[in-house]
Amino acid sequence: MKNSILKIAALSFSTFMLTGSCSKSFLDQEIPGRLPIDGFYKTDADAMQATVAMYDFLSEHYNFGWSSITLVKTFPSDESNAGGNGPGDQPGYQALDDFTFDSQNEAVFGAWRMTYYTIARANLVINNVKPENALRKRLIAEAKAMRAYNYLELVSLWGDVPVVTKAISLSDFQKTPRTPAVDVYAQIEKDLNEAIPDLPLKSEYSAADRFRLSKGTAQAILGKALLYQKKWAPAAAQFDLVIKSGQYDLEPDFAKVFSLQGEFGIESLFEVNYVSNVPYDWGNFPWDNGRALESNIHIQLMGPRADYYKKAPADSLIAGWGFNLPKKSLYDAYIAAGDVKRRQNTVMSVAELKAAGGDWTDPTSWDFEGYLQRKYGSYQGQTNGSGGAVAELNYGTNWRLLRYADVLLMAAEAYYRAGDEDRARTELKKYASVRTSAR
C-alpha cells in the first residue's frame, strides 16, 4: 500500500514535467563568466578595458603562430636569411626568404589575420563607446589611431584590402569586397584627422600611460600614410608638427634603441609592450594561446642557435633558435660606411665572437653567412631566469613600431620630394649627427 502511494506521487510529479510548462526555462543556458554585449561599453571603466583589449591584441599579433608582421616584412628583404635548423624548420619563414610564398603561407596569412583582429577590437571601441566625456573621447581617438595604423600595414603590404569598420556577421563573409587602395588611404586619413585633436601629447600622458597612442604618434602615422601616397607637402607638414612638438629626440645611446633599457624613452613613438615577470617555464608557457602571453618569444626565436653557439664569456647575448640570421652584405655595408656603433648593436661576425672567446661550431649551418644578429638581441639582462622562470621564455623586450629616427628620415624624404632640399638636409643632419658619427 505504502509502495503504491509513492508510485502515484512520483507519477503526478512527472505529469507536471510532461506538461512542458517548464521546458523553456529548463533549456535556458547560463554562460559562466560572460556578459551580454549590451551590458558593456557603458562606463568609463568599460571603455578603458575595451581599449586595453585592443592594445593587448597588438601584443598577441606579434606572438601568434610566428606571424609577426615585422618578420613577414623582414625575410623577403636583403638584410637577413630565415635561418633556424634547416629548410623544413618553419617552412613559412623559409618560403618568405626564398620568395616561394603564396597567400596560404602561414606567416603571411597569420599577419593578415592578426592585423584585422586588432582592427576588430578598435572597431568595438569606436562603435560602442559613447563619446560623452573627455576620457572616452580620448579612448575613441586611440582606437581610431590604432585602426589607422593597422590599415596602413595592410594597404602597404596588400594594396586593395577589405575595409571593415563594423562588426562582421556570418552573412558578410562572402559579400565583403576588397576596397581600392585609394579608399583605404582615405579611411586612414579620416581616422587620424578625427583622432589627432582628441589625443594628448606624449608628455601629457603619465609615465605608466606612455604605451598609449599620442597626438605625435597619430601625426607621424598620418605623415607616413601621406608619404606612401606621394602627397609630399602634406606629409612633410605632419612630420613638421611632430618635430616641432618638442616631445621627442634621438636616443643618444644607440644600444638602448632596441633594448629593454630604452623602452618608452625619448625616441619612442609607438611600441608593443612586453614584460618578463610572469614568469614562464617550459610547463606553463601558453604555446597555443598567444593572447595570454606577456613576454616576447620572438627574441628567443632570433637568438643565435643553441646547437652551434658558444657565448663569449663577457658577452650577455645568450642562445636562441637562430632565425633571422644577418647576411654578410649587411655587415659589409656597415663596414663600408664606417658605422661602428650601429654595427656593433645590430650584427656580429663569427670572427668577433671568436676573438671575444666564444665559438660557432658549424660554419655550414643552415642559412648561416658568418654573422649573428644583435638588434633585438637575446641578452641575458632582458629576460628573467630566476624563481622558476626560464630565461629563454621571458624576454621583456618591446617591439618598436615607430621611432623618432623614422620620423626624421621620413621628413627628410617628404621635404626633398616636395622641393625643399635644405629642410631635407637639416633633418638628415639631425639624424646623422647622433646616429652615424663614429661615437
Binding site: 507519477l11 505529469t15 529548463f26 556578459l35 578595458q49 593587448d56 609615465a207
Partner: protein
C-alpha cells in the same frame, strides 16, 4: 606526463633520444654532465643515487624518458555514485507508466608534484611545484514514459511515448603552489609551501538536454516487422532559436522463412530475414557552453602599462553564430540475416550509407572578420560500404568447432564544405606545418603535403627535370626526393601541397576460431584493417641530431643507382618531412587473442564442491602483421583531425597470460 606529442612527450623522446647516452651514469660523469652539475643545475638521480643520462648530442626539450618517468608524481582518484529510483504503475492491462530518476556523479581529485630537474637548458624546472585539481561532475536524468502493448490476433502492437530531462553539472577547483620544503610525497601539499606563490583557478557550469519521444513497434505473425521512432531533442548549448531537432527513424523487416510457402520449398534455410532501415540521429558533438554567442569576456586579457603593471582588458569574444544547429547523421541500411543447414551456417550482409550533415567542427572565418568562429556546421561527410558476417559452427560431435569472419568496407568522403573556405586546416605537425585538411572530394582530415616521384640520382637528372618542367627556384641535390610541381606554376612552393594519404581504412575485418574437444578448448581472435595510411610524425626537422628509425639509415640513397625510393641522409628538408615520404601503409592484422584452455574433469570437482575449474594460457596482442616500420600501426592519435599521425604513443603491449577460472 604527456603523450602523443612531438614536443617533449615521453615515447616521442624515447624514439628521438640518441642510443649513445646511457639511461644512468654509474661511474664518473662525462664532462658535459659534470659541467652542468658544476653550474648548479639540479640533475636528476634514480633511487640508487645514480645520475640519469643527459644527452650531449640531442638538444632542445628532448630528454631522457626514464628520468621523465622518475620525476612524474601524479595520482588521480575518482569516486562515482550511480543509481536510480523508479516507480511503475499499470492502471489498465497492457499500459505501463514509468517514472525513473537517476544520478551519475563523479568526484575526482588529481594530485601531482614536480621536483626540480635539469635535462637541458630547454627542459628544466628550477622550482619544485605542487598541483591539486578537484573536479566534480553531477548529472541527473529524469525519464517519464508510458508503454502500451497489446496483441490482436496475429497483430502485435507496442506503443511508447515519453520524455527525458538531463542536467549536467561540472565544477572544478585547481590550486598550485611552488617551492617545496623537501621533494618528497609528504611535502607535496600547498600547506607546506610558501604562501606567496600560490595560484588558484576554477569554474562551474551546467548544461541541459530535454527530449520527447514516441515509438511504434508492430509485427504481424512474426513475419512483417515495423518500428517507427520519432524523437525531439533540445540542447541548451545551442542558440535559443535552434535548440530543438527532430529525429525520425523507420525500420522494416520481412522474415521470409516464417512464410509457409518458404518453409516447404527451401527446407535447407532455417531462417531468412530481409530488413531495411532509415533514420536521422542528432549530435551536439563537443560544443561548449555559449560558444555560438558573441559575449563580453575578460578571461586572460591583460596588457602591461609602461610601468609594467597589468591592466585588465575586456572584449566581445567570437563571431556570433546564431545559426548553429544539431549535427545530423542520416543513415540507410539494407541487408539480410540467414541461417542454414540446421543453424550451422550464419550469414549477414548489410549495405550502409551514413551521411553526416552539418558536421559540427571548429570554424574558420575569413581573416578580415577579426574574431574566431569557435564552432560551425561546416560540412557533410559520407561513409558508405558493405558489411558481411559469415560463420559456421558444428556442435554435433565431441569435437566442437566454430569458425567465422566479418568484413566491412568503408568509403569516406567530404561532400560539402561551407563555401567561404576552400579547405579547413586540421592539425599542425612539427614546426610550422599543417598536416591535415578537411576538403570536399577527399576523406575527412586527409594528409596533405608535397608529392614526390622517386629520388634524383645525379645532377644530370636534376638538370633534365628542371629543363623539361621549367621549374625555377628549386635547387635539389642528388639524393633528394623529386618534388612534383602539382599546380604546374613552374615553382615548388607550398601551393604544391596535395593529397598524400588518408588515415581511414577502406577495409576492416576480423576472424574467430573456437575449438573444443573433451576438456580442451582453443580460441583465436584476429582483427585487422587495410588501406589506411600512417603519417610518421615523430621526427623533428628542427632537431638535426635526434635519433631516427634504423631504416632511415639502411635504406638511404648512397649514390647514383642505389635506390629510387628513399632519400639521402637528410634531417631537415620539408620535401622529405612534409611529403609523402613520411606516409606509410598502415594496414595490419593483429591476433588479438590466442588462448588454450583445459577444464578439469567434473567428477574430480564435485568432491570439492566446485562446478567448474579451467586452466588457460593466452597470448594477447602477441602477433601483428604489418609493413608499418614504426613502433605500432595503431599508434595514431585519438583526436579526429590528427587521426593516423604517429607522434609517438605507447605501443600496445604483447601479453602472455596464465589463468585459472573457478566457479563454485
Amino acid at each position: 606526463m604527456t603523450e602523443d606529442s612531438e614536443f617533449g612527450a615521453v615515447i616521442n623522446n624515447a624514439i628521438l633520444m640518441d642510443p649513445i647516452t646511457p639511461v644512468i651514469y654509474t661511474g664518473t660523469l662525462p664532462a658535459h654532465a659534470q659541467s652542468a652539475l658544476n653550474a648548479g643545475n639540479p640533475l636528476s638521480r634514480d633511487e640508487n643515487g645514480n645520475y640519469y643520462g643527459i644527452s650531449d648530442f640531442v638538444k632542445g626539450e628532448i630528454s631522457n624518458p626514464i628520468a621523465q618517468m622518475h620525476n612524474t608524481h601524479q595520482e588521480t582518484r575518482q569516486s562515482k555514485v550511480v543509481g536510480n529510483v523508479y516507480g511503475e504503475l499499470e492502471p489498465i492491462k497492457g499500459l505501463k507508466l514509468t517514472t525513473r530518476f537517476g544520478i551519475d556523479a563523479a568526484f575526482q581529485r588529481n594530485h601531482s608534484w614536480s621536483p626540480t630537474f635539469w635535462y637541458s637548458s630547454e627542459r628544466l624546472n628550477t622550482v619544485s611545484s605542487v598541483t591539486d585539481n578537484n573536479e566534480n561532475w553531477f548529472n541527473w536524468q529524469w525519464e517519464n514514459f508510458a508503454n502500451y502493448s497489446r496483441k490482436f490476433g496475429k497483430h502485435n502492437l507496442s506503443l511508447l511515448a515519453g520524455m527525458s530531462a538531463i542536467k549536467m553539472g561540472y565544477n572544478r577547483l585547481n590550486g598550485s603552489s611552488s617551492g617545496m620544503f623537501a621533494e618528497e610525497d609528504k611535502f607535496a601539499y600547498s600547506d607546506f609551501t610558501p604562501d606567496d606563490v600560490d595560484r588558484i583557478a576554477g569554474q562551474q557550469n551546467y548544461k541541459q538536454l530535454l527530449s520527447y519521444y514516441g515509438r511504434v513497434i508492430y509485427d504481424y505473425d512474426d513475419k512483417y516487422l515495423l518500428n517507427v521512432t520519432v524523437r525531439r531533442d533540445g540542447g541548451s548549448v545551442l542558440p535559443p532559436s535552434n535548440q530543438w531537432g527532430l529525429f525520425p527513424s523507420v525500420s522494416a523487416g520481412w522474415v521470409v522463412s516464417n512464410e509457409s510457402f518458404f518453409k516447404e520449398s527451401v527446407p535447407v534455410i532455417d531462417y531468412l530475414k530481409i530488413r531495411a532501415s532509415w533514420g536521422i540521429n542528432g549530435s551536439l558533438s563537443n560544443i561548449g557552453i555559449g560558444q555560438w554567442a558573441s559575449v563580453i569576456t575578460a578571461q586572460g586579457l591583460r596588457y602591461p602599462d609602461a610601468s609594467g603593471a597589468f591592466l585588465v582588458g575586456a572584449e566581445a569574444a567570437n563571431i556570433a553564430n546564431p545559426a548553429l544547429k544539431w549535427e545530423e547523421s542520416n543513415h540507410i541500411d539494407i541487408g539480410f540475416d540467414l541461417m542454414m543447414f540446421n543453424n550451422k551456417v550464419n550469414l549477414s550482409v548489410d549495405y550502409y550509407n551514413k551521411t553526416t550533415k552539418d558536421l559540427i567542427s571548429p570554424g574558420t572565418a575569413p581573416g578580415f572578420a577579426g574574431f574566431a568562429l569557435p564552432f560551425v556546421n561546416s560540412g557533410d561527410v559520407r561513409n558508405k560500404g558493405i558489411e558481411i558476417d559469415l560463420g559456421y559452427r558444428n556442435d554435433d560431435n565431441e569435437f566442437k568447432w566454430e569458425i567465422g569472419g566479418n568484413l566491412a568496407t568503408l568509403n569516406n568522403e567530404v561532400t560539402y564544405l561551407n563555401p567561404f573556405v576552400q579547405r579547413l586546416p586540421g592539425t599542425g605537425l612539427g614546426t610550422g606545418y599543417t598536416a591535415t585538411f578537411f576538403e570536399v572530394g577527399y576523406p575527412i582530415w586527409y594528409f596533405r603535403g608535397y608529392k614526390t616521384s622517386g629520388i634524383f640520382q645525379d645532377q644530370a637528372e636534376i638538370d633534365k627535370y628542371k629543363a623539361t618542367t621549367g621549374i625555377t627556384g628549386y635547387n635539389p641535390k642528388p639524393g633528394d626526393p623529386i618534388v612534383v610541381d602539382v599546380n604546374g606554376d613552374k615553382s615548388i612552393s607550398n601551393a604544391d601541397h596535395t593529397f598524400i594519404g588518408s588515415p581511414h581504412p577502406n577495409l576492416l575485418y576480423g576472424g574467430r576460431v573456437n575449438l573444443s574437444y573433451k576438456g580442451f578448448d582453443f580460441l583465436m581472435f584476429l582483427q585487422g584493417q587495410a588501406g589506411n595510411d600512417i603519417f610518421m610524425g615523430f621526427n623533428r626537422v628542427d632537431r638535426p641530431t635526434a635519433n631516427k628509425p634504423a631504416f632511415f639509415y639502411n635504406n638511404r640513397w648512397t649514390g647514383a643507382g642505389s635506390t629510387n625510393t628513399w632519400f639521402a641522409a637528410n634531417t631537415n628538408s620539408e620535401f622529405v618531412y612534409n611529403s609523402d615520404k613520411m606516409i606509410f601503409n598502415g594496414s595490419y592484422a593483429r591476433i588479438r587473442q590466442l588462448q588454450l584452455g583445459y577444464s578439469l574433469p567434473k567428477p574430480l570437482l564435485t568432491r570439492a564442491n566446485i562446478t567448474r575449474a579451467r586452466l588457460y594460457v593466452s597470448l594477447d596482442d602477441f602477433f601483428t602483421f604489418t609493413d608499418y616500420p614504426g613502433m605500432d600501426p595503431e599508434a595514431g592519435s585519438n583526436n579526429a583531425n590528427s587521426l593516423g599521425i604517429d607522434r609517438g604513443v605507447y605501443p600496445i603491449p604483447r601479453k602472455l597470460m596464465f589463468g585459472l577460472n573457478v566457479s563454485f
